[in-house]
């Protein structure tokens, strides 16, 4: 086995490893895009559920119509904000979350509502939707972490710079989110 053959084998091994690393980085980056799109799916699902909820409760809630109005308005804003870019969208969605929490806090005061099967079923649906939104965001952060770790660690860091793989941002909770009243949706 001459020295030329050894060099060729080593170079081939380096190229193969490089390809594997590159493919891995591409896959991780695509997972981030998919996870982001999945969050959107959950947000739209929530938009669709809200009109039913509002209809189910409005006949019972004589004096609290303004809470319902806020929810309906916040939903409309969120749907519109979908076209205005991720920052505006996230803000609108967080405001909708706040409006929904106020609604559930109020529903607690109406025993007929709490016993109503329709309302309970819709409440469960909204609870699960809120959970699905937050788990989708959590998963998004998990794949961003995986990708960021991959491009920062050796040996993939060598390829990352070469091929322009940049660090991605985590999904962070908006400041307003920590101000909403803490109402358990469970």
């Amino acid at each position: 086995m001459g020295p030329e053959l050894i060099i060729i084998v080593v170079l081939a091994a380096i190229v193969v490893v490089g390809i594997l690393i590159y493919n891995g980085l591409i896959q991780r980056r695509l997972r981030i895009d998919e996870a982001f799109a999945q969050i959107d799916v959950q947000l739209k699902r929530r938009h669709d559920l809200i009109p039913n909820l509002v209809n189910a409760v409005k006949d019972y809630m004589g004096f609290e119509q303004d809470v319902l109005t806020k929810v309906t308005q916040a939903r409309a804003n969120a749907v519109a904000a979908g076209a205005q870019g991720p920052v505006a969208q996230a803000q609108a969605e967080n405001q909708l979350t706040g409006a929904l929490r106020s609604l559930f806090a109020v529903v607690e005061n109406y025993p007929e509502l709490k016993a109503n099967q329709n309302v309970l079923s819709l409440q469960e649906q909204l609870t699960t939707t809120e959970n699905q939104i937050s788990f989708s965001r959590q998963h998004y952060n998990a794949v961003v972490l995986d990708y960021n770790q991959a491009i920062a660690t050796f040996p993939s860091v060598l390829l990352a710079g070469m091929f322009g793989f940049r660090r991605r941002d985590f999904f962070a909770a908006e400041p307003e989110a920590s101000q909403v009243p803490v109402v358990s949706l469970r």
Partner: protein, 329 residues
């Protein structure tokens, strides 16, 4: 493990994966050593040992393949599990769906078992062919947060390919038992001792020694392998607990669920020794009072609770405090 340092689920996951890998490697090595020793002891050549190991492993694999492909349906049928969907069990279905989003898994088939004993299991060879079963007893006892913890644990078994991992370890352990059994029968009932061969490998005296070693090993190896298998099962249970926290980001849910399950002494009717390893908590509790620690498929519940508490920096519960948790195993 006595010391519970405040730690993250990432560390616990890494430690559990590493431990179970090393244990499984140990079983592979044991099988290899047993094969070589038997082969050399009998034939004076190492090739015979490789052949014997290969045959035992093949037979073991074929036996396991049946379980691999049909096993989950069998277990579900034996448990009298009924499949449910979003309409028939909305909250359960929703909790499962939420966590499949966090785990990026496809939805498994969801089953409910009509039994007052609180328990759950997951089965299936990979995430695309997975099933998850819960008893009505468990659904009644737990609130949403605790149910989430339990579902997270079961989905993690699926996510970590634990069913497949356990099957592979099972094949190895079975192969060791087969090989040892066959060799001992051959020695004492069949060939009546080793045949003398020519001294190509310096056979003679060395071969005789190795033969004796082979007999000793053939008696001990199956027991050792079984103990290792149980240790692997316990490590994967810890791994599923830590992975559940990775999904839910909430150790309290699972902790509460384990405490509630531990309070309940009732054995699960449809479970037995063959299926016990699949459940979240050992379902045949009365038997487990006699065998604990090394002989158990599941870690002690107190230890599992304390590891979860370590994730939020809470101090571990002592045995005295946990006196209210009866049947701690």
């Amino acid at each position: 493990m006595g010391i519970h340092v405040a730690t993250t689920f990432y560390n616990q996951i890494a430690a559990n994966r590493r431990n179970s890998f090393l244990l499984a490697l140990g079983v592979v090595l044991l099988l290899g050593v047993l094969g070589m020793v038997i082969g050399y002891g009998v034939t004076g050549e190492t090739a015979g040992g490789l052949a014997a190991t290969g045959i035992a492993a093949t037979v073991g694999t074929l036996a396991a393949l049946g379980s691999y492909f049909a096993g989950d349906q069998l277990v579900l049928a034996v448990s009298r599990a009924k499949e449910v969907d979003e309409a028939s069990a909305p909250q359960l279905f929703n909790v499962v769906r939420e966590l499949t989003l966090a785990a990026n898994l496809p939805m498994p088939r969801v089953y409910v078992i009509d039994d007052t004993a609180p328990n759950a299991f997951a089965t299936g060879r990979d995430p695309r062919h997975a099933s998850l079963a819960i008893t009505t007893g468990l659904l009644q006892k737990l609130d949403r947060e605790e149910l989430q913890g339990v579902i997270g644990h079961e989905l993690s078994h699926i996510r970590n390919y634990d069913i497949r991992f356990s099957l592979i370890v099972g094949v190895l352990v079975g192969s060791i038992a087969l090989l040892a059994d066959f060799f001992l029968r051959f020695t004492f009932w069949g060939g009546g001792g080793r045949r003398s061969r020519d001294d190509r490998d310096g056979g003679g005296g060395l071969q005789a020694v190795v033969f004796v070693v082979a007999i000793v090993l053939a008696i001990l190896a199956p027991i050792a392998a079984r103990l290792v298998q149980l240790a692997v099962s316990r490590q994967r249970e810890y791994l599923a607990d830590a992975s559940s926290v990775e999904l839910t980001r909430n150790p309290h849910g699972l902790e509460g669920a384990l405490a509630k399950i531990a309070e309940d002494q009732e054995p699960l009717e449809a479970a037995n020794r063959a299926t016990q390893h699949l459940y979240i908590v050992n379902p045949i509790k009365k038997l487990e009072e006699r065998s604990s620690g090394l002989m158990s498929t599941h870690p002690p519940i107190l230890e599992r609770i304390n590891r979860l508490r370590a994730l939020t920096g809470e101090r571990p519960l002592g045995a005295a405090e946990a006196a209210s948790l009866q049947g701690l195993d």
